[in-house]
């Protein structure tokens, strides 16, 4: 809110048309709001759009890259596992091809073959020859498995049907995890035998352990029923259910988005190992693989938020500045129009009053001469010259004519100085000329008027017409503030060596502190109820400024006000104003 207080436009709390008799051209609040929205829209919508597009594209690209890497890893590992199994099956095929049944029935030969297999491949545990009835006729290895009958076991039936068999990892009779690879060999007499080898799972597990999975992923093999065949990091131990759905069979490597055993979003790559019951799975948590992207994303979003905030502050600040100036310009336009209207009105009044005064002067002159002639005639006749009452009556007529003449002269003097008239000003005369207009009102309202102008105040050159207007406005305002029986003082004093100050002091109602700051603003009036337009003081202020002076006010509610006009003793040079005419016509 402190930021809003700083950025808020000057006109925000003063809606146009409220208490203002003269309409502005624009609704500035609406202009401000529209400008902010429009500029913000134009600036931010493309930015946000491009950012959103870029975000999506980048995220998709990164995801695509992750999927590709996972797919490659799964494919490569699948090949390794497939090769592992097919190589050992091929070795058994070679053995049965290369050695006749008689040789395989020789325990020493079988023992030799097992030893060679261990040396060449590693991992072979035992070797057995199973006849067509399913009985293991010959066996070499650490277990007592000679003579075991496998005829009712699934693997036997499968190898009989397919010629080769790879088991999943199981415990069996030996109670140790192992894999069986069995190959069938047909004999010339149409019978067959099966060479059966058991492999421990150490090498098998090593293949999985050696997979380097980025992003803390989990890798393991499951069988077709979803049981783990190798240890996993977070999906369970061997023979446990993996906790994930068994993926559907596809020939090629697949990478999908799913959830890991913990329910977290995950990238799952899998592949069915051909000619085996195994499914290779690599599971990576999305949060882990996308960690760098998420970090970068957070930074970008933070940068975007800061940028947008900065852009908005600048937009609001610049818009406020511009619309404030627009408002100020429009206010000046309105003020100028009314100053012109005021000046025109004043000029009209001036012309009218000049005409009226002039027209009155002629009959006054006639009355004066006629009364004067009567007095002259009576004065020359002794019988009338001593008649005090007669002479007194005529003197009364002449005195009244003189009073009228003073008034008309004063009015004509004021009206004539509507045009610029630069001349020497005696402050006391100026004040008394203006007070002359208001003497009667002061008498009727019992307002005590006091004028104090020390002798040392020099005559100074200025515009008499403007000075009369200034003093008349200030004294009129003082009268409006005074109640009957109040007091008005008009005092002049030197303000330094180069200026004179005139104080108009009243003990009237005073001005509230909140109004003091605005008292010279155009259209601000504390007298709207009594028809005040609020132009008097703002025009007075402008007139004082034109004379190179200053106008200030001090006031206390209930105690009164003091308006001080300070004027330079030397008028500043005019700024090439075409209406300034020192000749004064």
């Amino acid at each position: 809110m402190a930021l809003w207080a700083k950025l808020k436009p000057d006109f925000w709390d003063r809606p146009d048309g409220q208490d203002w008799p003269f309409k502005h051209m624009f609704n500035f609040r609406r202009i401000w709001k529209r400008a902010v929205l429009l500029i913000a829209g134009v600036a931010l919508v493309p930015l946000l759009s491009i950012t959103a597009v870029d975000y999506n594209v980048t995220q998709k690209a990164i995801m695509s890259d992750v999927l590709l890497q996972t797919s490659r890893l799964v494919s490569n590992t699948k090949l390794s596992i497939s090769f592992f199994l097919s190589g050992r099956a091929a070795a058994l095929h070679f053995i049965v091809q290369d050695n006749g049944i008689a040789e395989l029935q020789d325990p020493r030969r079988l023992e030799q073959i097992l030893s060679h297999l261990k040396t060449a491949f590693g991992g072979f545990v035992d070797l057995g020859v199973v006849d067509a009835a399913g009985r293991q006729q010959h066996y070499v290895g650490p277990y007592e498995l000679a003579g075991v009958n496998y005829s009712d076991q699934g693997w036997f039936q499968e190898v009989v049907a397919r010629g080769v068999y790879v088991s999943d990892v199981f415990l069996g009779f030996r109670n140790v995890p192992h894999i069986i690879i069995a190959v069938k060999h047909r004999l010339p007499d149409n019978t067959f035998f099966i060479l059966r080898a058991a492999l421990d799972t150490a090498r098998f597990n090593e293949l999985i352990d050696n997979i380097a999975v980025s992003g803390e992923g989990d890798k393991f093999i499951i069988n077709l029923t979803g049981r783990l065949q190798t240890p996993s990091i977070s999906h369970g131990q061997v023979f446990e259910e993996v906790g994930l759905p068994v993926p559907p069979y596809v020939q090629k490597t697949q990478v999908v988005e799913g959830h890991d055993a913990g329910g977290e979003p995950a990238i799952i790559g899998y592949s069915y190992i051909p000619e085996s019951p195994f499914i290779l799975m690599i599971v990576k948590r999305k949060a882990n693989v996308m960690r760098d992207w998420l970090h970068t994303r957070s930074q970008l979003i933070g940068f975007l938020v800061i940028s947008i905030s900065g852009i908005l502050v600048v937009i609001v600040g610049v818009t406020t500045y511009l619309v404030n100036n627009l408002h100020l310009a429009d206010q000046r336009r309105v003020t100028t129009l009314h100053q012109v209207e005021y000046a025109n009105k004043l000029a009209s009044i001036g012309r009218l009053s000049a005409g009226v005064a002039h027209e009155i002067n002629n009959p006054l002159a006639i009355i004066n001469e006629k009364a004067g002639l009567i007095k002259d005639i009576f004065s020359f006749k002794p019988e009338y010259a001593q008649d005090r009452k007669l002479i007194g009556l005529i003197d009364g007529v002449i005195a009244s004519v003189e009073r009228c003449a003073v008034i008309t002269r004063r009015l004509l003097g004021f009206a004539r100085h509507m045009a610029v008239s630069i001349e020497p000003i005696a402050v006391k005369t100026l004040i008394e000329d203006v007070l002359g207009f208001l003497r009667k009102e002061a008498e009727y309202r019992s307002i005590d008027v006091e004028v104090k102008v020390p002798e040392k105040i020099p005559t100074f050159v200025s515009d008499r017409g403007k000075l009369q207007q200034i003093l008349l406005n200030l004294i009129n305002n003082a009268f409006a503030a005074l109640s009957d029986g109040g007091r008005l003082q008009v005092e002049a004093r030197l303000a330094g060596s180069k200026a004179v100050a005139i104080d108009v002091i009243d003990n009237g109602s005073g001005i509230a502190p909140g109004d003091l700051d605005r008292i010279f603003e155009p259209f601000f009036s504390t007298r709207t109820c009594s028809g005040g337009t609020g132009l008097g003081l703002s025009i007075t202020y402008g007139l004082v400024q034109e004379l190179g002076g200053t106008l200030t006010v001090a006031s206390r509610v209930g105690e009164g006000s003091t308006f001080t006009v300070t004027l330079p003793l030397e008028m500043p040079q005019p700024k090439g104003d075409a209406s300034a005419n020192p000749a004064g016509r």
Binding site: A354, A357, H358, N361, N362, L364, A365, I366, I367, N368, E369, K370, G372, L373, D376, I377, F380, V401, E402, A405, R409, L412, G413, R416, A583, G584, R585
Partner: protein
């Protein structure tokens, strides 16, 4: 001293002439510039007292015309405006011009006339 009074208000100018007459000052009067010029052509006046604003020939123009024809004549303007600017525009060298504001005080007028004639 012979005085010519010129003012478009007949009541004013005739009464003023009579008052001056009571004071021993011979004053002729006219209500238009044309009549004033004709009278000035017939008689020698020492001083002309002219109203500034008149229909037809204005006081200022009348003064210029009379000054051309009667170089030694002196002038006083009577003005209803009380401004020196009303007659300043007519000032020329060697012509003495002064002014009074209407309504005039007869004693002030007589004093002004004597001062102007002496200058």
């Amino acid at each position: 001293m012979r005085i010519l009074l010129v003012d478009d208000e007949k009541e004013f100018v005739a009464t003023l002439a009579e008052r001056l007459g009571l004071r021993g000052i011979t004053a002729d009067w006219a209500t238009t510039g044309e009549v004033a010029l004709a009278k000035a052509a017939e008689s020698d006046y020492d001083l002309a007292i002219l109203d500034v604003k008149m229909p037809g020939i204005s006081g200022l123009n009348l003064e210029k015309l009379m000054a051309q024809q009667h170089p030694r004549m002196k002038f006083i303007f009577l003005t209803g405006h009380g401004s020196a600017s009303d007659y300043h525009s007519g000032i020329a060298e060697n012509r003495v011009i002064d002014y009074l504001v209407k309504p005039v005080n007869i004693e002030a007028l007589v004093a002004k006339m004597q001062a102007v004639l002496k200058s």
